[in-house]
Symmetry: none
Subunit: 281 residues, 2 copies
DNA sequence: AGCAATATGAAATAATAATTCCAATCCATA
DNA sequence: TATGGATTGGAATTATTATTTCATATTGCT
């Protein structure tokens, strides 16, 4: 292996693109495959990759050698490293920032930490969202007469934004607040023709759980946003989402929850519009 | 391999945690290593992993078999699949989903849009934050007797989270809500020894601006979070932050504002703790 | 068209890695 | 403390996988 072998994925990618024109047909074929399916290169065997790309294993090795590697194995390392880095970068960065903040590295570190926590959470949820559950939740909420929004304490900001958005979309909704102490009455109005969005994270506010239970027993369908399958909310919910928010300095990010909440809200609005249009036609 | 072999990482993880107590010493050792270093399991060879974990390769295979796999290789597949799923890179996924959305695929695109908007906003603010203003704001808020939090409508969720966090940090604060119609009285209590965090974005809620004006005239210092230098809030503020939130489907992300708000809050808490310590010493 | 250089396919071989096996050790129990 | 069963270590074996080799095909050039 000479000294200018690309050892990181981006350099490798650039090198391949640059030489693309001058590569022989089969080598070009495997090159294109490599850039299109980097994960397969990272995990596959020379034989399996070659088969998927429609070439011989030997071609794959020649490709690696043309790039300056001494074989497929060394080339594969670059693709594996890429996966490793991608995955760890956020978490590691967050860990570093936490450590920095703890040793009193100034206020900028705190800010960076919250930004990183939010990014991590978003990154995480965008991979995890269960699309089927999402569609179910939208369908369920779209046909509700009134959407009740239930959340306490830490989750309350999310609930208030949902309520705001529902209002803007002209969807009848009711935020279940504790302030006036009239929650019980408010809840008693909910019927099976309505629906509830309930949000609660560990440590679960007992009031939220209790209210969810009552609503559940009234037969009102519940969509829950919570943080684990062991959440007491999950047992009452028709559909539930697990959202893992990263935390920093003891405060959990709300960014992923917010994104999910907004997406739900807007999607419900859209579905209702579509339904309305159909009914007219 | 029998039918109840965990085939996704989360199930596998749960299974391991559940059986942890009943595992023999060396098996437990490799089990702990696996959960702590999942990437190594995904990429390594039986020999290299065993060496890192301080056990024999055969133990690693026994571990896999105890879990119901027929060997290390099948176990490793689960760890690889995890990386694949987690990793299908953010951009790639986004591009794919955008394409899907264009051919009329449904609601996933909405979710994706909100995640993208939040990410963009975070990305943007992390470059823009004026560190000097940030320090000024912290200093100003740290010496306040009571921190008033003022926000309406769209910004209200942020205010409620600030209030929640300030409460947890045992910092006296007052959320200026409109519900009871007692805002005017509440505001009249604010003195120059207090401070205000005011949040408002275009279109600025007239009530928020009006209240900010009154407070300003009472000589109470204001820290504003808003979206442009032309914001009517800016003229009343001692320190103000410009936060550019990306929007999607007509709803602005709150992620950057939230991150800034949390950072401010926690930094204020920290500064107070430091000041308290010094005073004692 | 004919020749040389290059590229490709397929099978043989070499290397590497997973798995098995068996002896040694540990641990609980009588 | 003796005994049986479970657990572990380490080498032997087997399997898998990368690489090399060589015959064949293709391409570019005069």
């Amino acid at each position: 292996m000479d000294e200018r072998v690309p050892r990181d994925f981006e350099t490798l990618r650039a090198t391949i693109l640059e030489r693309r024109q001058s590569l022989p047909k089969r080598i070009a074929q495997i090159a294109a495959y490599a850039l299109d399916n980097p994960d397969d290169i990272a995990f596959g065997t020379a034989a399996s990759i070659a088969a998927s790309a429609g070439v011989q294993p030997s071609t794959l090795i020649r490709f690696a050698q043309q790039l300056g590697f001494d074989g497929f194995t060394s080339l594969q390392l670059v693709f594996r490293e890429r996966l490793r880095e991608r995955n760890s970068s956020y978490d590691e960065r967050l860990a570093a920032l936490r450590a920095k903040a703890e040793e009193g590295a100034g206020h900028r570190a705190i800010f960076d930490g919250f930004v990183a926590a939010a990014s991590t959470s978003l990154n995480d949820i965008s991979g995890r969202l269960n699309e089927e559950h999402f569609e179910d939740a939208i369908a369920l909420l779209a046909k509700a007469e009134t959407i009740y929004v239930l959340a306490k304490r830490r989750s309350y900001p999310v609930a208030s934004y949902i309520a705001y958005a529902l209002g803007k979309l002209k969807i009848r909704n009711q935020l279940i607040e504790s302030a006036a102490g009239l929650n019980a009455e408010m809840i008693s109005f909910a019927s099976p023709r309505d629906a509830v969005i309930a949000i609660s994270f560990s440590p679960y506010a007992p009031a939220a759980i209790e209210e969810a239970r009552v609503i559940f027993e009234q037969g009102v369908p519940i969509v829950a946003i919570t943080d684990s399958s062991f959440s007491p909310l999950a047992q009452f919910a028709k559909v539930w989402f697990e959202v893992a928010e990263a935390d920093f300095a003891g405060f959990r990010s709300l960014s992923a929850t917010m994104a999910l909440a907004m997406a739900l809200t807007v999607a419900v609005g859209e579905k209702r519009r579509d339904a309305g249009r159909k009914r007219k036609a």
